[in-house]
């Protein structure tokens, strides 16, 4: 069970969180201007790297905040470098 650093509540058990997939996939500024291919890329395409991965978590059973962490998908080691920035930007 991972210990996930919520930027508001501190490290908490993984079971309090809900996973939100890859981070930094911004909603396109002008969706209507995109081709079907470009829109499909936003909707359905996500990275699945072996190694470092920026991903979103929601502290569902806590403060309800969404935040970003970087996790090594091979070791589950979490780096809390940019999470606070991601929430408050």
């Amino acid at each position: 069970m991972m210990l996930i650093p919520c930027p508001w509540c501190g490290p908490r058990n993984e079971t309090e969180f809900h996973y939100g997939g890859q981070a930094d996939v911004p909603y396109p500024a002008e969706p209507q201007e995109l081709s079907d291919v470009e829109w499909a890329r936003f909707l359905f395409y996500r990275a699945n790297p072996k190694g470092l991965f920026s991903e979103r978590w929601n502290h569902q059973a806590g403060c309800r905040r969404w935040f970003t962490v970087r996790r090594d998908t091979t070791t589950n080691e979490i780096f809390q470098d940019d999470s606070h920035e991601a929430v408050t930007r």
Binding site: M2, Q32, D36, R65, W66, T75
Partner: protein
Amino acid sequence: MTGEYRLAEGGRINRDRPVRFRFDGHEYEGFDGDTLASALLANGVHQVGTSIRYGRPRGIASAGPEEPNALVQIEEPFPEPMLTATTVALHDGLVASSLPGQGRLATDPDPARYDAINAHCDVLVVGAGPAGLAAALSAARSGARVIIADSDTEFGGSLLGSDEELDHAPAGRWIDRVTAELRATPEVTVLPRTTVFGCYDDNYLVAVEHRGEDTFTRQRTWHVRAREVVLATGSHERPLVFPGNDRPGTMLAGSARTYVHRYGVLPGHRAVAFTTNDSAYAAAVDLHDAGVEIAAVVDVRPVATTLWTARCVERGIQILTNCAVTGTSGTDRVSGAQISPVPSGDSAPTVASELDCDLLLVSGGWNPAVHLHSQARGTVRYSEEICALVPDRATRGVRTVGAAAGTFTTGECLRTGSEAGSAAARATGFDADPAEVPSSPSGPVTPPQPTWLLPGLSADSDHDQFVDLARDATVADVRKAVGAGMSSVEHIKRFTTIGTAHDQGKTSGLLSSGVIAELLGVEVAQVGATTFRPPYAPVAFAALAGRDRGDLYDPIRVTAMHDWHLAQQCPFENVGQWKRPWYYPRPGEDMDSAVLRECHAVRTGVGMQDVSTLGKIDVQGPDAAEFLDLVYTNKMSTLKVGRIRYGLMCHADGMVFDDGTVMRTDEHRYLISTTSGGAAGVLEWLEDWLQTEWPHLRVHLTSVTEHWATIALAGPRSRDVLARVTSDIDLAADAFPFMSWTDGTVAGRAARVCRISFSGELAFEINVPWWHGREVWDALYEAGSDLDITPYGTETMHVLRAEKGFPIVGQDTDGTVTPHDLGMSWAVSKKKDDFLGMRSFSRADTVRSDRKHLVGLLPPADSAVVPEGTQLVELSELPEPPVPMLGHITSSYRSAALDRPFALALVKSGRDRIGQTVYGHVGDRLVPVEITEPVFYDKEGNRRDG
């Protein structure tokens, strides 16, 4: 009680406390401190069952959790399947039986209590042998919060099974002193009988504590988050592969030594020891000194070590070097061992002698218990030196010491344990020094000679050479796998099932790697080992469940009116964690007749339903209108204060995922409702967009589901009932129009009343603070009693809405359905620049003409209800498969108003097929169904104003 197998003195058993127990129908006596296995051995019982595939007699092979054979079924005090006799603590009243194969679960509920506890510590020490105790002592003296856990009933580990001395005194004294100091240290938690069985991410370890039959809680699961972990889990002795190596009386040498020293039990009277290393000599010498005749020590090595040779010569024990046991004889128990010189090359071994014995000790070396290290994602490597897997790279915050790290002398275990304990405490910020450790006389340990398969044996003997006793898997099975072209140990494990039994290959895992290596002609290191997975030892589901069963399995959410529903003895439907009344049967009614009556009442009179479970979210802020325009498909910013609009929410892919009503309660404030089961998901979804995409929007969200108790009052007489309990609300249709709300007083309580209808009838939704929910419910019920006001449940609500063609998200939709598919294009704004899902409505896939549409279905009027989930096909007779499917039925009921069955369905190009007949595949029949508009009742909407 002493007998031919119990020594007159010695051991750590309590001879003042005899214990009576039954095994396979026979009464026996043992002592407090015995395991079931040691007590059976003390009574001369070696065979404890038969093997799973071949039904061969099998005996007790070890003295610990690595036991592959001695599986027992506990009958009393409470049935438990598949425990190893070597780990069952003997207690009064124990009744057990041998278990060939699968165990039997209890049919009665377990009356014992199981519990869970969470703990945090600086240093968790797993294992309380010499290394673990020394580690715990070092860490504890620094003031760090320490937990030390060990599977065994008492601390000491390997020291309990030997006569070793520490500081020139029996080791027990040091164990007792350290244990006492640990117990007396306030920040230390001492956990005997506690098996740490899982090591997960970020030093989250799970253990089960066996607290005994007389305690308040029989077993307790510990969830420990440790900053640092010291693994001092010891090692398991490895058996040897040779023909007839499964006969009862064949026992790991170290285990036999344990039976002598710890339990005062002689596992036999005349023993042969077959070994590849020094440790079996210690067993042979100790057994000899305890009165067992040692027929010979058979050593595959060309030369025995000087020290052990001397000790054997002193005692007259014969050593046969460069020899192997190449066969055994006996029926239910070993009676003799065939000894051959180790054959070289392909020449068949010649039996030089046969030695009579009733005990055959074996030792193929020792496997460090690297299970937890490996579970924590530490890597292991094969050590040529000790012929076993040892920890290689460790995970952060995990240290392995002692025999678990391949360190086999007591002195080194003590020293490295002490150092690891202080290093772990230092890593957590404590000023720790290694505690001083006692002196140990144990000398150096010479490495074993790698021995996996004896050369030169005939292929016939493959079937008699067992690699995994628990799975009855032999060299023949491995040879078959290798012959089929397998070379990966993971594949061979699955093909042969080696290592998949209750013991998870504690004795057979590496042994099989060695055999595979020999058969493939490669190094063992190349073959490697299979993955170590939790649990380290079997754990009862009851322990994992703890108190989370029955009523406590999951939170139960009930409404303010729940007690009233209970009093009606209505069945409940589970909606998420909510309990919702399903229908309210009157005496003699079944579900169908109750629902028909309830539907009829709402269509012709008045009904009432508790709809408090609908999710409610308070949306506040200057940008609330803009926000809701983005998340609903229709426009909410144009909604006037006082009005209500139905809304659909879609994911960005354009698929419907929730629906509900939106009330504008103020210029900057809305109250939105969600489906009962979807409330939490919708809130998380809205928060996601607010926090990560539109943080500039000044909007705040609060769940107010439990703030409002909500009562739906529906039917042509609903206005009459409400009028009797309110005086400050004008209920006339023009003063209080459909899809509007007003505040007022209902039954003397402040209420917010809405004109919303989910049935098509004139209806009101009365919201009052939760606290007043029951009171207002009672008042409405009372007020409508002369009109036969009829409480109705979710089933009637479903029928009534289906008659109106209103879909239920999650029942009539499944995440692949757009608003257009539902025929709800009217709820999709064409005036907005963007909203979630909008772009997807013009994707090639969503504009296909053959998408599935929500349509109505009419089976023949006199037919039965066609089951939900029924697949629909084009033709009245099934063609050869594959049969093209048109869609399926999503909702299906009998209608009181129509007096016939009807259904909703998702059908390919459904709206273009209206009027056509398709066929529902029910059992082995095809039922004709006519495709219709989805609205069956009051298409014009004449009834909503009453």
